[in-house]
């Protein structure tokens, strides 16, 4: 890998297309071209130059724009496949039932979709690797192109070789009658007026404007990488919390994801509009419209150094009413009112009655959150609670079973003792079901009433990555704007002492406004008429021809 020594004596890195110093084309290919490729100002794209070690090979792979585009297309296709059916996250089924859910709802296609893991595509390892590779490609390709481009633009000379100028898209050549110095000064004046930065070196002049627009794509890549970093940081403990909990009225429980904090649900309130249904409401068969979902809570915090389970010295932080769109905010966390369940059983009241006389021996109220072993009704009357199952699901070997710990279907095995039945009678009582397993009883537990309580579902969120995502997004947009709405315009002018003029211009996009500037300076300084080498010649009408139907040379990079 030898350096290329240009005719001007400058040593260029291998792979350079246009000499860094004078701009002479260095490769055969460039020499053949009528108009040079100015995308990276002719600098060597580094990746294309060294290909020896494995690191270089990996680097070069990611540096390729083709690879980058392929990755973008693959990622887009994969991401769109994920939108065909709802992702698992949005499916209301437990982990075990998800496969069955997809098959039931979407048939065979759903089964395949689930089996292939497409139902959780965005968290799949291969999708993440794909996005990761895209990030690597963005970084490597940008470094490989951005840095040489920056160096090249920073170090560019005013004086360029004739062959460089003549290979630009816009070229003008001719003879002037005014003095060279006067022409150069006039051009300098006009270009400065048009906000160009003008540099002069002897008989050469370089006017430049909007160089920063060349960095637009790199700036938006930086934004993109910051954004992806933010998304990645969600996995780092402490950056992102998204949990949910259920809290029943009267209950105090630890808040998942929020260490050391406890929440007490004091009251859940559901308010509805009490209007008589009318209009659209009636048409759609909606009976009541909710006005407010609210949970009055008290937030507690454990004292410092307290350990889990130690709820003796909870410090009250504050009372608050969590309503929809009015989350409780504390230390970067937000608790949202997300869900509710009304009327969960809290207490069941029974009467102990004589089956034949219907006479009551007393009332037994069973608090389902803390059932007692024995309820003494006095006068030798007592009810023992032998077994309590909150969610009765049937018998197994004669023993009542519970499906969950939630009182959805409470069942009780009572032993009733009265002066008449001193040995006690056993009765199994569930909702709409009474069994007398040990023979006919004289007494029964007559169901009287229930007391219920509501339950609130909260979501706990913390997202420290939002500012990062925000910054990334803004930088991305700035980069896009810079690259889209500004353009890099350059004008080279060389006036020999004998009045021979060579002018060339380059713009990375928006040739139209470049030509406008050129028309202005040409008229002002009396320069020869320029020619657009990419435009089919139209009988010398170039300067007046504004109906340019061809797409302007858009070189975004």
């Amino acid at each position: 890998m030898e350096n290329i020594i240009c005719a001007c004596g400058h040593s260029n890195p291998f792979g350079t297309k246009l000499c860094e110093k004078c701009g002479r084309p260095l490769t055969e290919e460039e020499k053949q071209n009528k108009v040079v490729d100015m995308r990276y100002d002719g600098t060597a794209i580094r990746s294309k130059t060294y290909n020896k070690s494995i690191v270089d090979k990996i680097w070069n792979f990611f540096s390729s724009v083709k690879v980058g585009i392929a990755l973008i297309i693959i990622t887009l296709i994969a991401a769109s496949i994920g939108t065909l059916l709802p992702q698992e996250f949005y499916v209301k089924a437990s982990d075990m039932e998800k496969g069955a859910y997809y098959e039931d709802v979407y048939g065979f296609v759903g089964k395949i979709y689930y089996t292939l893991g497409l139902s959780d595509l965005y968290s799949s390892w291969w999708f993440q690797i794909l996005v990761g590779m895209l990030a690597v490609s963005i970084i490597v390709a940008s470094l490989d192109r951005g840095i040489p481009l920056y160096k090249s633009l920073k170090n560019q000379r005013v004086k360029r070789h004739e062959s460089f100028l003549k290979r630009q898209r816009i070229v003008a050549e001719g003879q002037i009658t005014a003095s060279p110095e006067e022409t150069l000064s006039k051009v300098e004046k006009k270009m400065t007026e048009m906000k160009y930065i003008v540099r002069r070196d002897g008989s050469a002049l370089l006017a430049e404007k909007g160089r920063f627009s060349r960095y637009g794509p790199y700036i938006n890549h930086v934004g993109l990488i910051i954004f992806l970093t933010g998304v990645m940081l969600r996995l780092v403990p402490g950056f992102y919390v998204d949990e949910s909990i259920w809290v029943r009225e009267g209950e105090t429980r630890a808040i998942t994801g929020m260490d050391g904090y406890f929440i007490e649900n004091r009251d859940f309130i559901l308010e509805t509009h009490d209007n008589a249904p009318q209009g659209e409401q009636l048409k759609q068969g909606v009976n009541v419209v909710a006005k407010n979902f609210q949970t009055d809570i008290t937030l507690y915090k454990q004292p410092k150094d307290a350990i889990a389970g130690d709820t003796e010295n909870l410090e009250k932080v504050r009372d608050y009413s969590i309503r929809v769109n009015h989350p409780l905010k504390e230390e970067g966390y937000a608790l949202y009112q997300m869900d509710y369940r009304l009327n969960e059983l809290k207490q069941m009241n029974f009467q102990l009655v004589n089956k034949s006389t219907e006479q009551s021996l007393g009332k037994v109220g069973i608090d389902l959150t803390n059932p007692k072993k024995e309820y003494d009704l006095g006068n030798g009357v007592s009810v023992k609670l032998l077994v309590y199952t909150p969610d009765f699901s049937g018998f197994e070997n004669g023993v009542p079973q519970t499906a969950t710990s939630v009182p959805n279907n409470p069942a009780f095995l009572f032993k009733m003792t009265t002066p008449e039945t001193p040995k006690g009678e056993t009765s199994f009582v569930a909702i709409k079901q009474t069994l007398e397993p040990l023979g006919e009883n004289q007494y029964k537990m007559k169901f009287e009433s229930v007391e219920t309580r509501d339950m609130s579902g909260f979501t706990i969120r913390k997202d420290r990555t939002i500012p990062i995502l925000f910054v990334g997004g803004i930088i991305f947009m700035i980069g896009v704007a810079i690259g889209s709405y500004w353009n890099h315009r350059r004008l080279w002018l060389q006036v020999e002492p004998d009045g021979h003029v060579l002018m060339a211009a380059h713009v990375n996009k928006n040739m139209f406004s470049m030509k406008k500037d050129l028309d202005a300076v040409t008229a002002f300084a009396g320069l020869p008429q320029y020619k657009d080498q990419l435009e089919p010649s139209e009988e010398g009408e170039e300067s007046t021809n504004r109906g340019n139907t061809k797409k302007e040379g858009d070189n975004t990079l």
């Binding site: 270089d56 993440q128 490597v140 429980r253 889990a308 072993k373 032998l386 199952t389 499906a403 710990s405």
Partner: protein, 184 residues
């Protein structure tokens, strides 16, 4: 010739820079994939880290603080009466507790927020002799990030988590786990 030397230096520098950049990116991707893969799983406290300290009250009103068992292995089991596999492994845990309690392995069963009556009935039914505490506020459950029951955390005499296991255990497995955290 000094130019060639400089070039060699440059190449070396470039190789190092490229290697560093690629390595950082590879680590970031690896972390992301690993992080996502393990996020959804029942990831309790990390193995090798210190077991979060807690204090809970048992059915007899006695306080049990994890740090008080420093010097002994702790077989920490999370359970509920509605959980069938929990129920099945209880008698085996009970008999292994009898074997290992004099060898310095304490068994502690943490019930998830059930009523005293249910838990007491359950304890009586299986004659459980090890302490059974109730996590009324689900505070310990939250600290240990317990999701599925039964979950068992093995804590060595130094208070470090040695192993985490979810699902039903056989008596032989329980014995081998207790052996694992027995003080040397």
């Amino acid at each position: 010739m000094s130019r060639g030397f400089i070039n060699l230096e440059k190449k070396k520098k470039r190789l190092v820079t490229r290697t560093i950049i690629l390595a950082i990116l590879a680590i970031a991707i690896g972390y992301t994939v690993y992080g996502t893969a393990t996020k959804e799983k029942v990831e309790l406290v990390a193995v090798g880290s210190e077991a979060p300290n807690f204090t809970l009250v048992d059915l007899n009103g006695e306080k049990h603080k994890l740090s008080d068992y420093r010097g002994q292995g702790v077989f920490l089991n999370f359970w509920g009466t509605w959980c069938k596999p929990c129920e099945k492994e209880m008698p085996a845990m009970n008999s292994q507790y009898q074997v290992f309690k004099d060898l310095g392995v304490q068994t502690l069963a943490v019930n998830i927020a059930q009523t005293d009556l249910e838990v007491q009935n359950f304890v009586d039914k299986y004659d459980l002799t090890f302490p059974v505490v109730i996590d009324k506020t689900k505070s310990v459950m939250t600290a240990y990030n317990v999701d599925n029951l039964p979950a068992t955390v093995l804590i060595d005499p130094d208070g470090k988590v040695v192993k985490i296991t979810t699902g039903e255990m056989t008596e032989a497995t329980i014995a081998s786990y207790m052996e694992l955290i027995k003080p040397k």
